[in-house]
């Protein structure tokens, strides 16, 4: 082939050449998906426990584990699973809303205005993202305790926001920087105030970026375990990850409950992903300038 004038581009490969990628991709897919399949196997193995075989399908499929996880109540008859699901939703939702609302305005200011402390602020936000969150665990614990916010959703929301806001701000600033300045300038000449520009031009144009940023922020809060595990001690205050971890106790290891609750917890995130998927493609600004 080399040196000949005929490239193979545009011509579909045939025969074994077409098969070759598949021989490579199939094993890779198996390796990637096997752990997921194994979790499903565990979850479907019922409460009696799974056999130790490597085959990722249970011998006697049953939904007992799901039922047990979803219907769990405490001594007073409180529906614990519902309570914990609600905790997770409220904490993740509030963190996301707080993060996005504050980050949108902050990011716009960072992207468009010159003011004293602009650089320092941006770098400060970046610096907080560079340290592993666990470093701040003890100071945060002390703070939250002094504020009397242990075992409360508000405490967790505040703590999560300290990482969500810088992350969202940087992501959104990056996007705002790509929006053509002329669009805003023509709005200025059309008579719009800064606030009107922000609300009627910038936010609609940034919908895809905001959706994606919100998704990541929601996922981070939804999946967070270490901080939640540290600040929450009462079962009714748990978020789902803490509860999931609790199925794997020191004495009593309930792998099937662990697996079933993990799968249940994955559903809302997958649904959200599906909902914003079309935005991931982006491209809303097409056609505004040039062509």
């Amino acid at each position: 082939m080399a040196g000949s004038g005929h490239g193979s581009s545009g011509v579909a490969p045939t025969g074994w050449q077409a098969m070759l990628p598949h021989f490579l991709l199939i094993p890779v897919s198996v390796i990637t998906l096997y752990p997921v399949l194994y979790v499903i196997k565990l979850a479907l193995s019922g409460t009696s426990g799974a056999t130790a075989s490597a085959w990722p399908w249970p011998d006697h499929p049953s939904l007992d584990a799901f039922a047990k996880v979803a219907l769990r109540t405490d001594a007073h008859g409180t529906w614990l699973f519902g309570r914990q699901l609600l905790n997770s939703l409220i904490v993740s939702g509030a963190t996301t809303v707080l993060g996005i609302v504050l980050a949108c305005t902050a990011a716009y200011a960072f992207a468009r205005f010159e003011f004293p402390g602009r650089r320092a602020g941006l770098l400060g936000f970046l610096a907080t993202q560079m340290f592993p969150g666990i470093l701040t665990l003890i100071p945060l614990y002390v703070l939250i305790q002094k504020l009397g916010l242990l075992d409360s959703m508000l405490g967790l929301i505040l703590v999560y926001s300290t990482t969500a806001i810088p992350f969202c701000t940087w992501t959104l600033k990056g996007y705002f920087d790509t929006l053509p300045k002329e669009i805003e300038e023509s709005a200025i000449i059309d008579g719009a105030t800064r606030l009107q520009i922000f609300v009627r031009i910038i936010l609609p144009l940034s919908a895809p970026a905001i959706a994606v940023t919100a998704l990541f922020s929601f996922m981070a809060a939804w999946n967070e375990f270490v901080l939640a595990y540290t600040f929450l001690s009462q079962e009714a205050a748990y978020t789902l990850p803490v509860q999931i971890r609790n199925y794997v106790g020191d004495k009593d290891v309930q792998w099937s409950l662990f697996a079933a609750s993990s799968l249940i917890a994955a559903v809302p995130v997958m649904a959200l992903f599906y909902a914003v998927e079309k935005h991931l493609v982006g491209g809303l600004t097409a056609g505004g300038v040039k062509g």
């Binding site: 669009i183 000449i189 059309d190 719009a192 031009i201 097409a286 505004g288 300038v289």
Partner: protein
């Protein structure tokens, strides 16, 4: 409607003076084209008029009001950007209506004004589309429509046609001319394209490195350029310059040797002896056989275009370094090839050299600094 008056306007970024003490008036209802090479400060000037850029020094008046510190929305101007800058998430209708909505104009009136503008610009079938679904020319029209519906007292255009292909550019140029004729609104129009400048302008302002070189009607800019920069910037192909000396009634140098009448030479160069003459490509004629030519061209290339023929070459005996040594500001390299624009059948010249005569009436003379000397140049034939 209103005039725009710049009084000693300056713009500096740090130590860099981008616009230098600009005095310029766009009269009420006038179409003024600000032209110059890329980076000379045209957009900066326009943006200062729009209020998008702060004015470093000087006074800007729109109408009779000093507007240095007036916000863009209160200047009663509309601007068309080079990149169109449409609102991508709004339909064509909403793009045009946006400014009016913000100003609280009544719904019915918005509808009516958008209707008039879209009819005028042929946008009626596109009103419900978003910008992404429009061609370049259509986006350009929407950008103009957005300015038109506002009924401002001044339109500002920043190279509105430079993103269009050649054919559309001609078409949109005509539409802009029609628009001005119809509305009669004051227009300040920025371009680097001299054809746009010549065809659209009531007056042209030529700018170079932040300094206004000349402001005059197109014919005057063409036939009586104020200096070597304007002379070589306007006109295509560009005027050629030659360093010459006056010896009595003769001009000699750079391969030229021409006798003038005493009156002619007086008008042309006063009592200056070292000068630069400029000759446009169409002001040469093949010398009739038997006569003494003013110059002889060593032909490099001929380009017959059917209606006319361009001839490129060097004058015999030319020393182009002489001109380069004069340090004039010009648009062209001073030592570039000499260009003639001759009639199509100028004699079927085959040989390596042509004897040439020069139209005395159309000689341009500049002093050592490149400032125009002669007062005699006849009215032009635009080319």
């Amino acid at each position: 409607m209103a005039r725009v008056l710049c009084k000693g306007i300056e713009k500096s970024y740090g130590d860099v003076r981008v616009v230098r003490s600009l005095d310029l008036e766009v009269a009420d209802g006038e179409f003024l084209v600000l032209v110059g090479a890329s980076g000379c400060g045209k957009s900066t000037t326009l943006r200062m008029v729009a209020g998008l850029e702060a004015i470093t020094a000087g006074q800007l008046l729109i109408g009779d009001r000093v507007v240095n510190d007036v916000a863009p929305r209160d200047r009663d101007i509309a601007m068309v950007f080079q990149s169109y800058a449409l609102y991508p998430h709004m339909t064509v209708r909403d793009n045009m209506a946006f400014g009016l909505t913000l100003r609280g104009v009544a719904k019915a009136e918005i509808e009516q004004r958008v209707g008039v503008a879209s009819t005028m610009l042929g946008l009626n079938d596109l009103l419900d589309r978003k910008p992404a679904a429009l061609s370049g020319g259509q986006r350009q029209r929407v950008a103009m429509g957005r300015a038109v519906v506002r009924q401002p007292s001044v339109f500002l255009f920043d190279e509105p046609l430079s993103n269009l292909d050649a054919k559309l550019r001609v078409q949109m140029r005509l539409e802009i001319a029609k628009l001005h004729k119809k509305l009669g609104t004051t227009i300040l129009y920025v371009t680097h394209d001299q054809v746009e400048a010549m065809t659209l302008a009531d007056r042209i302002a030529v700018m170079h490195e932040g300094v206004l070189q000349q402001c005059a009607p197109p014919q005057v800019i063409y036939s009586r350029p104020a200096n070597t920069y304007v002379a070589t910037f306007i006109g295509s192909p560009a005027m050629n310059l030659f360093a010459v000396q006056r010896q009595g009634t003769r001009l000699v140098g750079s391969g030229l040797a021409m006798d003038l009448d005493p009156g002619e030479i007086e008008l042309l160069c006063g009592d200056e002896t070292e000068l630069t003459v400029g000759i446009r490509p169409q002001d040469w004629r093949p010398a009739p056989s038997g006569s003494t030519p003013d110059a002889t061209l060593q032909v490099d290339v001929q380009e017959p275009l059917g209606s006319e023929t361009f001839v490129f070459g060097e004058l015999l005996g030319a020393n182009r370094d002489l001109l380069a040594g004069r340090d004039l500001i010009t648009q062209q390299r001073a030592d570039s090839l000499v260009i003639l624009r001759l009639e199509a059948g100028f004699g079927g010249h085959q040989g390596p050299a042509i004897g040439l005569h020069i139209d005395r009436q159309r000689l341009h003379a500049f002093d050592a600094k490149g400032v125009r000397l002669n007062k005699n140049t006849s009215e032009p034939t635009l080319g």
